[in-house]
């Protein structure tokens, strides 16, 4: 009977390996530092927006900002009532959502329930291309095609000029439709197959299965997708800048030119406001408002999605 030989320190790494393990601790630390840079960016964004906004609201009262309906910050004398921008933003957003959400849903239904594999394989890349088209190209499309050939033709309530919220809204809607399609498809794919089969087993047709079972089952996912679409539409700058003009009309006639919060920022940026001027600070005040709105929309959609996950678990 012999005793196992004992050598203390036997399970310690030697030389090279030891050095390596030490340097790994440094690597890990460095990685952590880099990983937190994202957090810095967010703080940077918030800080960059808040500081000049504070200056802005020192000069312009919040009451005037939210209490008046004239937005002419770059005129003399300037007006700082943000409502025209809000109305413009929501007009364009609503138009876009009215097109993108049903459109995205319809295409998602078609792709996931109706289309054959062959058709799907051909359609998907087309949608991917559409999803990858830069917004400036959509803007070009808006002023050369959508504006004169669609918006001007379908809007019968007023004269539609070169610039209109309608043209911008339609184009933004077309731009976010592929994204909406993808998100809706994901939501539909998460519906258990057994539910769909349960519906067919009761003699339901494809339509009834789509509207009666898949839609309600995927509803929260679809709503979340819709909310993301909204926030995308609200944040869109270039298309609106090109298609809806630079006049902050306080109007509910979507045939008129309008300005959204994002397109105002882009517009004011074109004209390069002198630092510290009130015109320069408006960029930040409006940016802050835009950031807050999209931040809440994105939080909302995350909430909905996490609720949604619980249902089928």
């Amino acid at each position: 009977m012999s005793t196992a030989s004992v050598s203390v320190g036997e399970l310690q790494p030697s030389g090279r390996k030891l050095r390596q393990q030490r340097s790994e601790r440094i690597i890990q630390f460095l990685l952590m530092i880099v990983a937190t840079s994202g957090v810095l960016i967010t703080f940077g964004v918030v800080f960059a927006l808040v500081r000049p906004s504070v200056d802005f609201f020192r000069a312009i009262s919040i009451g005037e900002f939210f209490g008046s309906t004239a937005w002419f910050p770059l005129y003399e004398p300037p007006d700082f009532g943000v409502w025209p921008l809000i109305v413009g933003t929501f007009s364009v957003m609503l138009l876009a959502v009215i097109i993108a959400v049903p459109g995205g849903l319809a295409i998602a239904f078609y792709l996931s329930q109706y289309a054959s594999d062959r058709v799907r394989r051909k359609l998907k890349p087309l949608l991917e291309i559409l999803a990858g088209v830069p917004t400036v190209v959509f803007g070009f499309f808006a002023i050369n095609f959508v504006g004169p050939n669609v918006a001007a033709k379908i809007w019968v309530f007023s004269d539609v000029g070169f610039y209109s919220a309608l043209s911008a809204g339609i184009t933004v809607g077309l731009m976010i439709m592929p994204m909406m399609t993808t998100l809706a498809e994901d939501a539909m794919a998460a519906v258990p197959r057994s539910l769909i089969e349960g519906s067919y087993a009761l003699g339901a047709t494809k339509r009834e299965t789509c509207t009666g079972v898949i839609f309600p089952a995927a509803l929260s996912g679809i709503i979340a997708a819709g909310v993301i679409a909204m926030s995308r539409a609200i944040g869109e700058t270039t298309i609106v800048l090109l298609a809806a003009g630079s006049t902050a009309n306080f109007s509910f006639d979507i045939g008129q030119p309008m300005q959204t919060m994002s397109s105002f920022i882009g517009f004011a940026g074109l004209g390069d406001q002198p630092t510290g001027s009130t015109g320069y600070q408006t960029i930040f005040a409006v940016g802050l408002l835009l950031f807050v709105i999209t931040f809440f929309l994105n939080m909302l959609s995350r909430r909905i999605v996490s609720k949604f996950r619980e249902v089928y678990e």
């Binding site: 990983a35 459109g103 830069p134 074109l270």
Partner: protein, 300 residues
């Protein structure tokens, strides 16, 4: 005992009894789906079609070779192409570095449940939802002017685009790392490999195709992005290719934006031609992504 009972013959029993209204609705519904699908296809076709029609006359070598000009006849986009390449490559590389580091830290080192991990994750989600123009504001306030004061240069634009594509890249890099089977990590650890050795020698090689495809998608977003750069002075008449981070620059989307707003009609053709070049670059990028994806599938 032979009690034989025939099943009663009920012919026509299983005929379609769907009511006409129900069938009509079915057709209507499918019609609606078709319509929207067609809208998407028509959008793409008319978008490319109208652009081609407008721009094909200027789609020649002089477009690519020339620098901007006040005269539409010989206005070119060379500076914009090089500017785009500069900005996209630098921001792509920087964000790739940050995204890989972040993803490796979050997936391979950090405790998944740690506060820091959650904070970073939520933060990335938040950043992903920030409108791109807001990054432009950040760039204007901190980078172009303010603290860093880099001016309206390639460096500023790269920094801003980096922030913009970072969330996309981090998410795709994390997905790629998650997709590496844990058996691979266990196999390496079980041989005494350290964490870093495991990552560098096993995990990353397996994840690279996924990371590459994700990055290319991020980069193509940067290539097409215009909004934040509007705030960063990329609109000007720039007749030289960038030579460094401190160079003046312009990029394709903004050249398009500028020509689109130009009063002379002939510039629209230049803009349209530039769009076609931009779209071709994007398609090429996506092809590379597809090739990488397919290649990586074959190799092992």
């Amino acid at each position: 005992m032979s009690s034989v009972v025939s099943a009663q013959p009920v012919v026509a029993d299983l005929h379609d009894t769907t009511s006409r209204a129900r069938k009509g609705l079915d057709k209507l519904f499918l019609g609606g789906l078709w319509m929207f699908t067609l809208v998407a296809i028509i959008t793409l076709v008319t978008l490319v079609g109208t652009t081609l029609l407008k721009g094909y006359s200027r789609l020649n070598w002089s477009l690519v070779a020339n620098f901007p000009s006040p005269f539409p006849g010989d206005a070119g986009i060379q500076a914009a192409i090089f500017g785009s390449v500069w900005v996209v490559v630098t921001s792509g590389l920087i964000s790739l570095f940050i995204a890989m580091s972040t993803a490796i830290y979050l997936e391979e080192f950090a405790d998944q449940r740690s506060r820091l991990n959650k904070l970073i994750t939520i933060n990335i989600q938040t950043l992903a939802g920030v409108p791109s123009i807001v990054f432009g504001i950040l760039g204007l306030a901190f980078i172009a002017r303010g603290w860093l004061g880099w001016g309206f240069t390639v460096g500023t634009a790269s920094a801003v685009l980096t922030m913009m594509v970072l969330p996309v890249m981090i998410v795709s890099a994390r997905e790629a790392l998650k997709a590496v089977p844990s058996s691979l990590r266990e196999g390496a650890f079980a041989l005494g490999a350290t964490r870093w050795q495991t990552i560098v020698k096993q995990v990353l090689p397996s994840a690279i195709p996924g990371i590459a495809t994700g990055s290319i998608l991020g980069v193509s977003r940067a290539l097409g992005e215009s909004a934040p750069l509007i705030l960063l002075g990329a609109l000007a008449y720039v007749s030289s290719n960038p030579t460094g981070f401190a160079s003046d620059y312009t990029v394709l989307p903004l050249v398009i934006l500028k020509y689109t707003q130009e009063a002379q009609e002939e510039f629209q053709a230049v803009g349209a031609a530039a769009i076609i070049v931009l779209l071709m670059l994007l398609v090429a990028l996506n092809m590379i992504a597809i090739i990488i994806r397919d290649k990586s599938r074959k190799s092992w």
